[in-house]
Amino acid sequence: MSSRRSSRITDEEISELISKLQSLLPESRRRSMSRASAAKLLKETCSYIKSLHREVDDLSDRLSDLMSSMDSGSPQADIIRSILRS
């Protein structure tokens, strides 16, 4: 934050970017954020990103499980196969 660039960026631009981040939060997280400070919004964004990382992790495992069921020839297999082929 000590670069020359930072000093030429206005508070307005920063708060615009922060409110953009607020708009990206899902509805459930946004409710308590209407009058939140920038620091609180950043904290909530961190929490949201962490939960998204966990979801990617979890969904990756579930997709792997689906691939397994695909290998064993279940009814879901045809659906997945058609998705993967397209």
Binding site: R4, R5, I9, K20, V56, D57, S60, I79, I80
Partner: protein, 147 residues
């Protein structure tokens, strides 16, 4: 405000953040099919991790190289570092450094100025949520049929 590389005057003509959902879906499904072909069925855990890498890779490729976070993700994936992540520096968490937690979460965040960090966070968050939506959609459609 118009210094070289300033994020706040990013000449990106596209006002919306994030790549198109279709491109993301295309890339990810293609990667999934490759994982399926190349990973033995006997190693589901390994396959899960490969799927996860495919998720981040397709996110980053869809975002392109114009974003610092996607460049950082692609660098990390191509180098295939053995360690899970670059060890974060121990940063103080005084009030003025609140963004440090964010810097650890957003790829490439450590070296950015505050303004760039906020922009990159917005784009990264948007892409991440699209990727999650996509993966959830695939799981849902595959699970709801044939039950």
């Amino acid at each position: 405000m118009d210094s070289k590389g300033s994020a706040c005057s990013n000449p990106n003509p596209n006002p919306t953040f994030g790549p198109s959902k279709l491109m993301l879906a295309f890339r990810f499904l293609r990667a999934l099919s490759i994982v399926h072909r190349t990973t033995p069925a006997s190693s589901p855990t390994c396959r899960g991790r490969r799927i996860e890498r495919a998720a981040y890779a397709s996110m980053a490729y869809s975002a392109g190289t114009s974003r610092a976070w996607s460049r950082a993700v692609l660098r990390r994936l191509h180098h295939r570092a053995r360690r899970r992540a670059v060890a974060p520096r121990r940063l103080s968490t005084t009030a003025g450094n609140r963004a440090e937690a964010l810097r650890r979460l957003v790829p490439g965040g450590a070296g950015m100025d505050y303004c760039t960090l906020l922009e990159e966070t917005a784009d990264y968050t948007k892409c991440l949520s699209m990727q999650v939506e996509l993966m959830q959609g695939i799981v849902d459609s595959a699970s709801s049929n044939g039950r």
